[in-house]
C-alpha cells in the first residue's frame, strides 16, 4: 500500500478524504471570509448579499481625520519602523542562511512597515489600527522577554551531564506546554486578582493592595507565561545541535565572554531563535484568552476585536475584513520565515 516501487498510485485514495475535510474547514471558510468582508452587515448577525467596500474602508480609514497631528505622524513613523524591523530582520537572517536574495526580504519588511504606518496615518486615532498596533507591540514585548528568559535556561539544561537530568528538566518545560491554555491563563488571573494571593502577601508585608488585573502588565505577563515553552523547546534543539568546541575555541583564543556570546553562540543558535520567536509572536498576536481574562475591556487585542464584531457588535463584514487582513499577514510572514526553509520546516 505504501511502497512507491509498487507502481500503483494509491495516493489519491489516501489523500482525498483528509484533504477535502481540511479544505472544507480551512480553505473554503478562508475564501468565504474574504467574500463576507465585501458584503453588508445584517442586524443580529450574518450578512446581506449586497456588495460594498464599507468594511474595508472602515478598517483602513475610519476615525476622525481632524485628529491627525504631529503625535499621530510620530507614532505612525515609530510603528512603521518597528513593523519593518520585525519583518525584515528575521526575513533577512533567513534569506542569508539559505543563500537567497536579502533584498527581497528587506523589501517585504519595508512594504509591511509602510502598510502599518499608512494604516495608522489614514485612521488618525482609528480604533482598529490602534488595536493592531497594540497587539503587535505587546506580542513583541512578550517575544523579547521570552528570549531573555529562555536563553540561560536552555544553556543550563544542555550543559547538564546526565541524560536523565536533561530529560527531567525538559519534561518540566513540556508539562505547562501541554496544559490547557485556559487553566494557565486562569492561574495568572487568580494570582493577580484584587483579593488574590499576591495582593494578600503584599498587604501582609505592610504595603497597599495594587491593581494588577486589567493592565498592560498583566496581559504581557500572561502572553509570556503561555508562550514561553514555545521559545524554550526550539531554542533547546538548536543549542543541542550547536558545536560546543567552537565556543571553547573562541574562549581559548582569548575572546571576551560578550564576544563569544554575540559572535559565536548567537549565530549558532539562530535557527532556534527564529523558530521560537516566530512561534511566540504568532501565538501571542492572535491570543484571545489572555487579553480577555487578564486585560479586561472589549478591544484589547485583535482577537477581542474579532469576537466583538462577530458577537455583540454584529458587524460580520467588518470582522471578516479584520480577520482576512490579519491572517494574510500572519501566514505570509510564517511562510517567509519558517515555511520555506527545510531546516526550520514545521513538518
Amino acid at each position: 500500500m505504501s511502497a512507491p516501487a509498487a507502481g500503483k498510485k494509491y495516493h489519491r485514495r489516501l489523500l482525498l478524504p483528509g484533504l477535502s475535510w481540511i479544505s472544507l474547514t480551512y480553505v473554503i471558510p478562508s475564501i468565504l471570509i474574504v467574500v463576507y468582508s465585501l458584503l453588508t452587515p445584517q442586524l443580529g448577525g450574518g450578512v446581506v448579499w449586497d456588495f460594498t467596500l464599507d468594511a474595508w474602508a472602515e478598517v483602513f480609514a475610519s476615525g476622525s481625520r481632524s485628529n491627525i497631528g504631529w503625535q499621530t505622524v510620530g507614532t505612525a513613523l515609530v510603528f512603521g519602523i518597528l513593523a519593518t524591523l520585525v519583518v525584515s530582520i528575521p526575513a533577512t537572517v533567513w534569506a542569508r542562511s539559505v543563500g537567497r536574495s536579502e533584498h527581497r526580504a528587506l523589501a517585504f519588511g519595508g512594504v509591511f512597515g509602510l502598510l502599518v504606518a499608512v494604516n495608522h496615518l489614514a485612521g488618525g486615532y482609528n480604533n482598529y489600527s490602534a488595536v493592531f498596533a497594540r497587539s503587535v507591540v505587546w506580542s513583541l514585548w512578550a517575544t523579547v522577554i521570552c528570549v531573555v528568559l529562555a536563553l540561560p535556561l536552555v544553556v543550563f539544561i544542555s550543559s547538564r551531564e546526565s541524560r536523565v537530568a536533561k530529560n527531567a528538566l525538559l519534561v518540566a518545560v513540556m508539562i505547562p506546554f501541554w496544559t490547557s491554555m485556559l487553566v494557565r491563563t486562569f492561574a495568572i488571573r487568580f494570582l493577580l486578582s484584587n483579593t488574590g494571593p499576591l495582593n494578600n502577601m503584599i498587604e501582609s508585608l505592610g504595603f497597599e493592595r495594587q491593581v494588577f488585573l486589567n493592565t498592560r502588565f498583566a496581559v504581557v505577563l500572561g502572553l509570556v507565561y503561555t508562550a514561553l515553552p514555545f521559545m524554550i523547546l526550539p531554542l533547546y534543539a538548536a543549542v543541542e545541535r550547536s558545536d560546543r568546541a567552537q565556543l571553547d575555541a573562541a574562549r581559548d583564543l582569548g575572546a571576551r565572554p560578550l564576544r563569544v556570546f554575540t559572535e559565536v553562540f548567537l549565530p549558532m543558535v539562530k535557527p532556534g531563535l527564529i523558530v521560537g520567536s516566530t512561534m511566540v509572536f504568532v501565538l501571542s498576536v492572535a491570543q484571545y484568552l489572555v487579553p480577555t481574562l487578564l486585560g479586561g475591556g472589549k478591544t484589547n487585542m485583535i482577537a477581542n476585536l474579532l469576537d466583538l464584531q462577530f458577537g455583540e457588535a454584529f458587524n460580520w463584514p467588518l470582522g471578516a475584513a479584520v480577520a482576512a487582513l490579519f491572517s494574510l499577514v500572519t501566514i505570509l510572514s510564517l511562510y517567509l520565515v519558517v515555511g520555506r526553509n527545510e531546516e526550520l520546516d514545521l513538518a
Binding site: 474547514t25 487568580f190 490579519f326
Partner: protein, 296 residues
Amino acid sequence: MSMSSTRAKVLMGAATWGVYLFLYIPVLILVLFSFNQARTGGTWTGFTTKWYTALAGNGRIISATWNSIQIAAISTVIAVVLGTMLSLAIDRYSYRGRKTAQQIVYLPVIAPEIVTGVSLLAFFSLVIGALNDFLGRDAGNAIRMGKATIIIAHVAFGAAFVALTVRASLRNLDPAVEEAAQDLGATPWATFWKVTLPGIMPGVLGGALLALTLSLDNFVITFFVSGPGSTTLPIEVFGQLRRTISPEVNAVSTLIFAASSVLLIAALGIQAGVATRRSGQVTTVSSTPEEGVPDQ
C-alpha cells in the same frame, strides 16, 4: 556561552530555577487554593476537599465534561484515520501537487485559531442557513450549530497534527522493508497491516494522544462553532470563571491540569519506548535533538 567563571554558572542556574518557579508557581497556587476552606479570596483558611465534592453535584460541569469526552473521542478516531492516510500520501508517493497538498494539510497547524473560529462561524451559518431553507425548517425545529459542527472542526486540526506526528515515524521506517514485503508477494493491504502500521504505531498512538488533548483543551475554535446544548468543559469553565471567583473553578482546573499531565506523560512514555526499541536495532537511524519535543 561564556561559562568561564563559576559566578556566571551560578547566575545561570539561578535564572533557570527562577524560570521554573515562574512556570509552576501560578499553577501550584491554583491547585493549593482548590483545597482552601474560604469561598472567596486568596487567604488560606484551612484544608478541605469540599469543592471537589461540590463538583460531583454540579450538573453543568458534569454534562459539559461528558460533551467534551464524546466530542474528543469521536473526533480523535476520525482524525487518526484521516491523518495516517494523509501522512502516507504525503510521505510515500511522489506526484504533481504533493507540495500544495502538504501545505493545505498543515494549514491547521499554523492558522491563528481565532481566525479559524470566526471563518468557521461564517461558513457553518451559511451552510446551515441554506440547509434550513432547503428542508423548510422554521425557528422551532431549525438545525443549529452544536456537537456536529464542533466535531467537524476538531477532526480537521486533529488530522493535521496526526499527519505531522505519523510522518516523523514514517521517516524512520525504511521504505525498502515495505518493498521487500511486496516483492515477496504481500498485497498492498497486507503490507500496510503487517509491515507499515506496526512500524509507525508509536507515531499513530502519539498522534492520537495529541489529537485527544487538543480536542479536550480547545477553547477558541469551539467557542465560535458551538451551540445550545453542546457546551464543552473549557467553555463552561470559562463562563463560570468570568462570572464568579469560586474554589470550584480552581478544583475543576486542577483536575484538567492533572488529566493533561497524565496524557503528556503517556505520550512521552510511548516516544521513549520507540527510542529504546530503535537504539536496539542495528539501523543507522541517527536520533536528532528534537526528538521528544512535540512539533507545533
